[in-house]
């Protein structure tokens, strides 16, 4: 499979038929992000809206998928219901290896199934199965039903599915991958819902030759030892990402109660340690990752009032979801956080977006802009029971208010007021009130993700206000990340997969041409992605930062409004120049 051709499965959901296309360009598009951009250019239309059924939904893996540790992610790409522009969202689970072992570099879904359906693919199967009975089914139940509908290959397949939020077209609807992972941000769930796809089963039943050279297994062993025997990734193995809660709170950088504060002594209730001590049941891993950063806690519920009868459910947790439904909502008990996350898993909403949206709705209630008529339950910071109900309303779109809020916090604020305190940076903020650089970076970032660039870590290391240095850092940091998301590596492994290491990996697996050209390719892919973003309507000047972000104080002191504004306009300009420059 080392020729220049990508092997792509195209499925026309309208007819239920598909075909394998061999698409040239591997040596320049690499895979993952680069391949997704190539496929959107080929099959997508920049102008038609996201919900035009001809718009593609793309899943892409990379040249190193499954061949090295933590090369375990899949890139999904689509025109987003959130902003009607091109975007990517990434997830792991077993999706990446399943697609690779099914024999494909990418899957492209076009058209719309006649009725709600599930798609089942493998190296020798393509089946679109009517599933009208799954309408309104939550994502966890959908997974169980799909296991019964499609037998065999247990453990060697991946199951993607949506919940109610995707079916009702929420721009915060995510796609659940193998129960504990998600294509979270920017509404991929609604794209599948619009295509009448409730679930996708990818069976990784193929068996392929390995690169024939002695260097490959040796290099594998070296990387495996780096990720397991050194401290490089120990953080993710130990407490996992929730270790950051305490450190960010200490740095006055953890958003609390709709970003009215950046630190609070109540952090004690929701630290990574507290989650591990109280709630951690076990860990999990994406296929191909020995680090196993998935932390699975539990919620226990007494269901008989008089007698001691309990049920329990397992709920995965991470830094971002804990910030979003914990500190951001003033919920400071571990089990309360997990209870809210459990509901979000079912309705299949992106936890970050939903938490931040509900935080805004709570403050809007406090200020009298919203009443019970809209929110249906009394929203109060810290009141987990109400947030569980509100999460359900938001996911199912139970009234006009929640349907609008599902299109984004600013969409609701434009109608009800309160846009000044909507914590939106291109999309609902990630959990880093680290300072000006991060705010500008997320607001203008390609995916509006904290992982687009290392803005949050730059803030934590630099007190000086040097616009040029900060913007140059953001610009220089991006192409390397594009390379990783083209391979497709987990970004937690970025310390291991330096450009030199990636080159070595490509060399021993039969891609010497890519290996010799990585820097230029990262730059090229970065540019291609931004071109698509601009072609689908992105305009950095149209993105404004709500006032709340100017009122924040971090370890560096109060936000410097002039610095933030200059950063934002300079960063926007430099991104625009990237796209416009010749070549």
């Amino acid at each position: 499979m080392n020729e220049d051709m990508f092997r792509v499965l195209l499925v026309n959901l309208g007819t239920g038929k598909g075909r394998v296309e061999l698409i040239p360009g591997r040596s320049s598009a690499l895979g993952g992000s680069g391949l997704a951009a190539l496929l959107f250019t080929t099959y997508g239309d920049p102008v038609r809206p996201w919900n035009d059924v001809q718009q593609p939904f793309i899943l892409a893996v990379g040249p190193l998928t499954g061949l090295f540790p933590l090369m375990s992610k899949t890139v999904s790409a689509f025109k987003s219901p959130y902003h009607n522009q091109y975007t990517e969202s990434h997830a792991g689970g077993r999706s990446a290896l399943a697609l690779r072992f099914a024999g494909y570099d990418a899957l492209v879904l076009q058209g719309q199934a006649a009725t709600l359906s599930c798609l089942n693919i493998s190296g020798h199967q393509l089946e679109l199965k009517e599933a009208g009975f799954m309408a309104g089914m939550n994502a966890l139940a959908a997974g169980k039903v799909m296991r019964r509908m499609f037998k065999g290959n247990s453990g060697h397949r991946s199951m993607l599915r949506i919940g109610q939020s995707g079916e009702v077209g929420s721009a915060m609807a995510c796609i659940n991958v193998d129960t504990y992972r998600h294509f979270g941000r920017l509404g991929g769930g609604a794209v599948l819902g619009n295509k009448n796809i409730k679930g996708i089963v990818i069976q990784g039943d193929g068996n392929y030759p390995l690169p024939e050279n002695k260097g490959y297994p040796l290099l594998f062993k070296k990387v495996h030892e780096m990720v397991t025997d050194t401290d490089m990734l120990r953080k993710y193995h130990n407490l996992g990402t929730p270790a950051n809660l305490e450190s960010l709170n200490d740095l006055q950088s953890l958003p609390w109660r709709n970003l009215q504060q950046t630190a609070d002594a109540q952090i004690e209730g929701i630290t990574g340690e507290r989650f591990a001590d109280d709630t951690l049941l076990r860990n999990g891993a994406c296929s191909g990752c020995p680090v196993g950063c998935i932390h699975i806690g539990y919620v226990r519920e007494r269901f008989e009032e008089k007698d001691n009868r309990y049920l329990y459910r397992q709920v995965a947790y991470d830094y971002e979801p804990i910030f979003a439904v914990g500190s951001m909502l003033g919920v400071t008990k571990t089990f309360d956080v997990l209870r809210i996350l459990d509901i979000l898993e079912k309705v299949c909403l992106d936890a970050m977006s939903a938490g931040v949206a509900l935080a805004w709705a709570t403050e809007a209630t406090d200020r009298g802009l919203l009443s019970r008529k809209e929110t249906l339950v009394p929203l109060r910071f810290g009141d987990a029971t109400s947030y569980m109900a509100a999460a359900m309303h938001l996911g199912t779109g139970s009234n006009e208010f929640y349907r609008l809020l599902g299109q984004g916090t600013l969409a609701a604020a434009n109608s009800y007021g309160g846009s000044d305190f909507a914590c939106v940076l291109g999309q609902e903020m990630a959990g880093y009130a680290t300072g000006e650089v991060f705010f500008a970076a997320q607001a203008l970032g390609f995916r509006h993700s904290h992982l687009d660039t290392g803005g949050y870590s730059y803030d934590q290391k630099h007190k000086e206000k040097d616009v040029d240095a900060a913007v140059s850092f953001l610009l220089q940091d991006e192409p390397g990340r594009c390379l990783l998301t083209s391979m497709v590596s987990c970004l937690f492994a970025r310390s291991v997969y330096s450009e030199e290491m990636l080159a070595e990996c490509l060399e021993v697996t039969g891609y010497p041409e890519m290996a010799s050209n990585l820097e230029a390719l990262g730059e090229k892919i970065r540019r291609h992605r931004w071109q698509l973003r601009f072609a689908t309507g992105f305009n950095p000047d149209e993105i404004t930062l709500p006032k709340r972000f100017y009122k924040v104080s971090t370890w560096k002191g109060p936000i410097d409004a002039a610095y933030l504004d200059t950063l934002k306009s300079e960063y926007g300009q430099r991104i625009r120049q990237l796209v416009e420059k010749e070549g």
């Binding site: 499954g66 247990s154 068996n207 999990g284 994406c286 296929s287 020995p290 196993g292």
Partner: protein, 141 residues
């Protein structure tokens, strides 16, 4: 001779490092299936994992079923494989009581040789080279 045992599957995180190692190092393949040990979820990811692998019978029914001497009894239990002799009849697959022998679309079989090469790749020490008696008494499967 020691055999591969899986005494701590209750620690398994489903990373597939073991199966990928077996496929890569023993069978020289890139696959989840072409491996002596295969990790299945026991009914969805929320209920844990089990390892499908050879339990090292002695005498081994798969050896008796093999018409060509491709599979031979391994001292200590299990089998040795002479790939060149395999005629892809599939007889061994059906007689194995624990579904330990995998087969690919071409009819090639993959079974654990109890070499132990996968053990070092498991991040949670789920796997050990040990004895069949202890495995059956104390271990998880």
């Amino acid at each position: 001779m020691k055999i591969l045992t899986t005494p701590h599957m209750d620690r398994c995180i489903g990373c597939h490092s073991c199966s990928l190692a077996c496929a890569r190092l023993v069978n020289k393949r890139f696959s989840w299936e072409a491996a002596g040990i295969r990790i299945e979820s026991s009914g969805g990811l929320s209920s844990g994992f089990l390892a499908k692998r050879c339990l090292a019978c002695d005498p081994a029914p798969c050896v008796a079923a093999c018409p060509t001497d491709c599979l031979r009894q391994r001292p200590g239990g299990g089998v040795t494989v002479r790939r060149k002799l395999c005629i892809r009849c599939g007889e061994c697959i059906d007689v194995c009581p624990v579904d330990a022998i995998a087969v690919d679309a071409a009819g090639d079989i993959y079974v654990c040789l109890h070499c132990g090469r996968c053990v070092a790749f498991c991040p949670h020490d789920c796997l050990e080279m040990g004895s069949a008696e202890i495995q059956n008494m104390e271990g998880e499967l």
